[in-house]
Amino acid sequence: MFRMKLYWTFTKKAFLRSAVYRFDVLSRMGSNLIFLLMWGSIWTALYAGKESADGVTFQAMLTYIVVSQFLSGINGAGTPLWDMQEKVRTGDIALELMRPFDVPLRYLFADFGSVAFYFMFALLPVYILVFLFIDLTLPMSWETWVLFLITAFIGFLIRYCIEMSFSFLSFFLVETGGIVDIFYFAMSLLSGSVIPLWFFPDWLEKLAIYMPFQGIYYIPTSIFIGKITGVEIAFSIATQIFWLLVCYGILRFVWHKASQKVVVQGG
């Protein structure tokens, strides 16, 4: 039984809490923009005045980076991985377990709230300005916009499931430093967040295609710039849904095991 009203409360609370920590929102926006500047400059230098590379125009590539930075703003606005791990380490997670709600869903709905606040008051206005001042391509048809929104949302859910599964690993391992770093690396490279998959060496592209990460940034962003079109879109969405189901299954499994094995560290 799913009690929408209960989880909706978490969304509202998280929204209001973000409104209180305005400095956090501002600083996150600032560092997002610095990374945008960095990757924008890198791609400008890589193209080095060339009109297009591998059939992708410079303008489309710049759009790719802007959109993917925008999505990384969205994906980074929720509960951070270390925050969850800290809850396990300090034993605060025990309080969550005692309450009558499902922990993975409770944090997902809370994330909706903080993402909504960050989106409305920081990301959206700033990125509208970016699109106004930089010569970028916008999708022509409304269908592309809708497909972009859908795939970006599925990507968000995939990322949430993977990241949460990783953070629940701290139930089993006291120190997860190394594993988390490998996760972040795979996430940033194989998701195509900074380098689109078509520029990868062939073997790496194949590897990336068989991983869930591409659904987070590569698929929505490529649809946005018109690199993935037609039947390929249907195929991409099917891949995303497949990975979402798998990752959700993993999250459920890890959470099931974790909640049975609560070791409170001297809490």
């Binding site: 610095i34 400059s41 591998d54 770093d181 490279l189």
Partner: protein, 265 residues
């Protein structure tokens, strides 16, 4: 000068404490090396279909990265504790640094000596050796001395930045956040050759937040690269910039301290 033995005593205690958790220590080093290897791998993938980034090849970029990593490693060993000054101020635990008969700046600094930086050292030494073989860098004595003095300069610049960030906590009771807003992205920017950025950004990294002196300007000297907008000798200035910037940071920290009022909690 009785501060030096005292420093080693305090630091020794810290190191022993960290070595109590051997598995954690080991995992952290693995993690650090993975993270930096990931950055190097990203550079490699990026250059797979393109020849160079702003005239810099893959190996030259690796050198640039390794120089940044090694001086950051030294820097966090000594100065990383400053990042978390805000928690001491908010909790009111900072007062204990003021009631003891040693200099508070020194005392705060020696509270933590982060040996996790072993990861940074392993990564950068491996990369330096690899790059030197790949592009035949001829390591004469002066080049080695130049590199060492550059690293000292880089440590002072980044350490100075950490000290400035922590000094802000005296006025705003925040420091950790400033680290994530200002220093973390700025350090990432300098992992790539500054020549690719707009002129304004290059000027900022030269004159305001002098991170360009940590790795970019000195690398242009060793690798024989051009630095548009800047004179050729700019790469030799790292140690000087480091000393001046650190003194400035120290002065700011001390003036922050003089207006510190305990939260009384």
């Amino acid at each position: 000068m009785s501060y030096l033995p005292l420093y080693f005593k305090l630091v020794g205690a810290g190191v022993r404490a960290q070595l109590q958790y051997r598995f954690a220590f080991f995992m952290r080093i693995i993690g650090l090396i993975t993270a930096y290897a990931g950055m190097a791998a990203t550079m490699w993938v990026m250059l797979y279909r393109f020849d160079a980034l702003g005239g810099w090849t893959f190996y030259e970029m690796l050198f640039l990265l390794a120089l940044a990593v090694v001086s950051w490693g030294c820097c966090i060993t000594v100065f990383f504790h400053f990042k978390s000054l805000d928690t001491y101020i908010v909790n009111g635990t900072f007062d204990r640094f003021l009631v003891r008969p040693i200099h508070p700046f020194f005392h705060f600094m020696s509270m933590k000596f982060d040996i996790g930086a072993v990861g940074q050292f392993i990564f950068s030494i491996v990369v330096f050796l690899w790059v030197s073989m790949a592009i035949d860098i001829d390591w004469s004595v002066w080049k080695v001395l130049f590199l060492l003095s550059t690293i000292i300069g880089g440590v002072l610049i980044q350490g100075g930045m950490l000290v400035i960030i922590s000094a802000l906590a005296f006025w705003t009771t925040k420091s950790e956040q400033f680290y994530w807003v200002a220093m973390y992205p700025a350090r990432n920017l300098t992992n790539y050759p500054l020549v690719i950025y707009p002129k304004l950004v290059q000027m900022i990294t030269a004159f305001i937040v002098p991170f360009g002196f940590v790795n970019y300007f000195p690398s242009t000297v060793i690798l024989g690269k051009e630095t548009p907008y800047f004179p050729d000798f700019v790469g030799f200035l790292s140690p000087l910039v480091g000393v001046v910037f650190f003194l400035l940071a120290y002065w700011l920290w001390m003036s922050g301290l003089s207006r510190y009022k305990s939260t009384g909690s």
